[in-house]
Symmetry: C2
Subunit: 350 residues, 2 copies
């Protein structure tokens, strides 16, 4: 038995807990990867660098770690909603290329940037399109269990039904009553019994090109479903660690819990770990406001935010001085200071 | 119109032909990628470097090229036969890891090595597991056309039936009569009507872990089927160039032609291009005889074959001095000579 005093902050309990894996000596860890429709931003990088540290530390402690991090290449719609255009299809339409060319372009960018940050690759890197059959089988299972319903070729998860015998909101701390009152009813969602229900399978509109045949319609899986399909395929019905960015806690991870519990009647994940946001000069990073910087532009120095270039090592070192559950602010002053500290370690190479 | 005098050797006609694309200004090119169960060997590298040159040259001429190169991560059995263990599963069993961990390990190795050779990535890099539904749909289509039959949960392509109205052997120049007499009947192939038939879908034995549900059985697609599924999905029923190593001409590419013609009633590919073998010190390269060298061992110099290390640039430069349709022999003497020539170009860096 690995004797460690590793303590993790579990989002599920809201407390620090001593880490004890389900199977002695082994750790199963799933981390939500990127939707590959755009260059990876620094906020994402923080999440993946944080879990790289956790992965390395678990291995250092002597655990045999199966680390699965997915690539979302289908099913993730605009605004994380159940309606709208697929993010990858939209990019493909705007750039006049094939959706899978978009996927290739930004998967390569993602790998390139994380390699620069000296991240280790995960042991398995599954894709949503690589698990279509598995996702369709899960929809069948959830329908069979009575926690989903079909309307006009789409299948939705019945949140109220699930909540009768389970706790929807257990991870994010949201109350079902508040969700019922606060969920917007959007155009095109009129198929749903209740607005808080979420799509497991969506019938594709005629213009939606990323589509697959299914028992219900030519369509595509719901975004939340893919992570349940991929995590349970490679890590089993219950596994140790599920990680991701804080913004994924609700609805994405909440829905993952609901889907898995609907099928397996048990909690899928022992420890939920969430990496917090990165801000830039004290403000939220956003492309729309211009308060933003891409990793490659930071390395080369070709950007409007900083006067000098900063290496991946400086960024990684800076990231790791703060706990990943805290909001962290990046600024040129902070980077200058951390570059100096890094120089003091390695004799001036950086 | 792009006015070029590009001439290619088309394996289908056995002649040099002037290259004229199906759609003016555009080229669709599919190249068979690796089965990711092992480190990529130098022979494979020759194929991919050759098609990298072709890709770059087509772009240089002004064509908009859609270059698709697949990753085989399921369905490729030992000895390229219809029976035996899946290559990836076997490696996973031997190394006591998950098949998809094998896939990740050797996909990363493949990408790393090709990047060292300065190959451009293809525009789309589809996987066999990423196209399970598409493959199942193709099997249905071929069954509907009457060119396949189901036996005990497996589906086989009926070569004799196909040959009544088409020419099986058109690419490799093999005669159906010779094939009938020379095809071995192996244990476990007794389901087939005729030994030259090939599997489109195989029912999985209990110990076969890489399996998917289908209308016929829990099983897996035939190796030849995946390339038909992926090439036609991204390039259409007819496209310009299909490439691969010479060893894939028969049966792999011959079967691809048969599958596509069975469904679409037309030839899928205008120009078939095949890269020839690489030998080492005049003999066939093979792990079993020890007459073998891995790319990374060549770069580092840690190998039994050569006294000195040779860079990826030297190998690439050496590759490109011979036509890809000729057998090419590598040796330390040849590399020494090409390193000198390369030095004369770039001022001594290599």
């Amino acid at each position: 038995m690995i004797d460690s005093s590793l303590v993790v902050f579990n989002s599920l309990s809201g407390k620090k807990e001593t880490f004890t894996p389900l199977v002695d000596g082994h750790v199963g860890m799933y981390v939500c990867g990127p939707t590959v429709y755009n260059n990876i931003h620094l906020g994402n990088c923080r999440t993946f660098i944080s879990f790289d540290l956790i992965y390395r530390y678990l291995k250092h402690l002597g655990y045999k770690v199966r680390y699965v991090r997915n690539i979302t290449d289908a099913g993730h719609l605009e605004n994380d909603e159940d309606v709208g255009e697929d993010r990858i299809s939209k990019k493909a339409r705007l750039e006049k290329i094939e959706p899978m060319e978009v996927v290739q372009l930004y998967t390569l960018d993602f790998h390139r940037i994380l390699e620069k940050f000296n991240n280790l690759p995960p042991g398995i890197e599954p894709t949503a399109t690589g698990h279509m059959i598995e996702q369709i089988e899960l929809v069948k299972d959830i329908l069979n269990q009575g926690y989903a319903y079909e309307v006009n070729g789409s299948v939705y998860f019945d949140v109220l039904k699930f909540n009768e015998s389970n706790s929807y909101g257990i991870l994010s701390g949201r109350k079902i009553e508040d969700l019922i009152h606060n969920t917007r009813t959007l155009d095109g969602q009129s198929d749903k019994k209740n607005p808080q229900d979420f799509a497991l399978w969506k019938k594709a509109e005629p213009q939606h090109i990323m589509r697959w045949p299914s028992p219900w319609s030519d369509g595509f899986p719901g975004w939340h479903l893919e992570c349940t399909a991929m995590s349970t395929k490679y890590l089993g019905d219950s596994f140790d660690i599920h990680g991701g960015g804080m913004d994924l806690k609700f609805p994405h991870h909440e829905c993952e819990i609901a889907q898995a519990e609907a099928i397996n009647k048990k909690s899928p994940v022992k420890y939920w770990l969430h990496a917090n946001m990165l801000t830039l000069n004290g403000k939220k990073m956003a492309k729309s406001t211009g308060n933003n910087i891409l990793p490659m532009d930071m390395f080369t120095g070709k950007n409007e935010m900083f006067k000098k270039p900063y290496s991946p090592e400086v960024f990684r070192f800076f990231m790791l001085q703060a706990h990943y559950t805290s909001i962290l602010d990046i600024s040129e002053d902070a980077f200058k200071c951390f570059r100096k500290r890094l120089l003091s370690f390695d004799g001036g190479r950086k």
